[in-house]
Symmetry: C2
Subunit: 329 residues, 2 copies
């Protein structure tokens, strides 16, 4: 029997909590139920779903329909990566404004990106939309020992893959009409699900919990904290900020910007050696950075750069129900 | 290694054919790939996805958001039913116009209907929509011996569960502003996936192929014909028309109306006895009707009521990319 994982703060998650309240117990062949990055059916089939809507998650004056498909696959597969899974393939449901060419372009991007990641287009649905172009990507994979959000324990170390803030930096540039550095555009269009990176780590290090960063580090750390019933303390000065972030509050982009699709990991203390971190960086051309600690208690706090008392990160990531993320068309 | 199932005519399916052209061979752990009612992963996990968009599949001046969720689950689970599968649960991705109450109502309908059907809400995604309310329902089930579209052979009999045309009749009444008989409304809001009916049949009779009727009998018969590489001959006079269909061309509603979510079955000749048909009708309070035959050749033809030479049904079902199905809002 499986219980839903606890979720962090936010209106979106309040609605999900209300929807799930009083749900009957899950059958034994459901290994992981609602509230984690994906559902898992016995013995090892991982299934997740991720919706990308024009005007909310992307705009067609920013990226092409094909790029929207490429982006949607990377974002969706990231849930599987955070569970330590291997990709089998995707199903894609597309709704397209008439005459449908945009939908076909988007579907071409979905197939191309899925095959780049080693998976297959396994099916889907193509229909008309009265407004926005949109795609729901269903990811299918396998994870014999799925890595959950709920395993972090006080004393664990917090690590993160890659750099933070680049996708949100791209959105900020587009919204301000500023020149867009190519690296930021790339981060937005082609997020890299950390499939191999997480499996490499779980085979060498005792990773106790993981979550991919879709809503922003602050919000997703909130989910991991709630699911594991622990407090997380982050070090502002340690956060690996992306290069070329636009001026202003770069820490805000890294904490609340969202859509980095890097992975936040809790790791048993002392098991991730300097040598392993260096080998990871060489092998994947990607930093692995210690950004904080797991403690007893609840919630997420941030120690300011240069030290001082930690501040509670009361605000989570994007509220997908309220904040105009990519701007209305 | 699995090849995609062939699809029938229609612009939607031309686009899907183009998208899948030249795709690499599927791995062995994919039992069923694109083009059937659902994908199947070894050993027996069935996954399908089905999108319902306001203004295309439903209108909120016709049904409530909760009813849209109820309807979407029934429609989506119908794919699993047509494969002879058992329901485990669903994941639902919802996009909702602000402030989000409609999305929560819809999600309530999704959970309630899923549990009525014996399944569980296993996860999902809740986000903002810049326009229409919409839901993508991912269905998870098990089918140790999935029933495909591709097994029909010349000489088989064609049978259909239930009645045809009721959901399209409801849409016709709404569009004309005519009074709506309760039975038609019920058929639109609460389609009944034939989970138990199909499993009961497959355990007693040699069912060689099946497809659920989402696009209309003509279009879905076209898919079964293409996937099995056979001709299908339907008898107009045998079609089980729903009661209370609006005046005019009721045969048109049954052939091209769509969204009946009944199941078209090809059955080995002589294995479905009168006694079994009667037992089916008693047990499920539902007719099982022989409506035609499988022959060598290709395409779908219709013998007019009263006899005469068969007419080719060149036109398929709804073209989801062009025809205003439920009318633009």
């Amino acid at each position: 029997m499986v219980s839903p994982a606890a979720l962090g703060p936010g209106r979106e998650f309040d609605q999900i909590r209300r929807t799930l309240a009083g749900a009957p117990p899950l059958p034994d062949d459901v290994v992981v139920g609602p509230g984690d990055d994906a559902a898992v059916l016995a013995p090892d089939v991982v299934v997740s779903t991720d919706l990308a809507v024009e005007g909310v998650h992307f705009r067609l004056d920013w990226i092409s329909a094909r790029e929207a498909g490429i982006r949607a696959v990377g974002a969706a597969v990231s849930d599987l990566a955070a569970m330590g899974g291997e990709l089998i393939g995707v199903l894609a449901s597309v709704a397209t404004p008439p005459p449908g060419d945009l939908g076909e372009e988007l579907m071409g991007g979905v197939r191309s990106r899925t095959e780049e990641l080693g998976g297959h287009l396994l099916g889907g649905d193509l229909t008309r939309s009265p407004g926005p172009l949109l795609v729901d990507v269903v990811v299918l994979g396998r994870a014999p020992r799925p890595l959950l959000r709920s395993g972090a324990r006080a004393g664990d170390e917090l690590w993160v893959t890659g750099f933070l803030g680049a996708a949100a930096g791209a959105v900020a540039c587009w919204q301000a009409g500023d020149p867009l550095p190519p690296g930021l555009r790339q981060a937005f269009v082609r997020p890299e699900p950390r499939l191999q990176e997480v499996r490499w780590l779980t085979s060498r290090v005792r990773v106790t919990a993981a979550i991919d960063l879709s809503d922003g580090l602050a919000g997703d750390a909130g989910h991991l904290s709630a699911a594991s019933a622990v407090a997380l303390r982050l070090q502002a000065g340690a956060l690996p900020l992306a290069s070329d972030l636009p001026g202003g509050d770069t820490l805000e982009l890294a904490l609340h910007g969202g859509e980095d699709y890097e992975v936040l990991l809790a790791v048993a203390p002392g098991t991730l050696s300097r040598e392993l971190v260096d080998e990871f960086a060489r092998r994947f051309q990607l930093p692995l950075t210690r950004i904080g600690d797991v403690e007893t208690g609840s919630g997420v706090s941030l120690v300011p750069t240069g030290g001082g008392p930690p501040e509670a990160l009361a605000r989570g990531g994007f509220d997908h129900l309220a904040v105009p993320e990519a701007g209305d068309p």
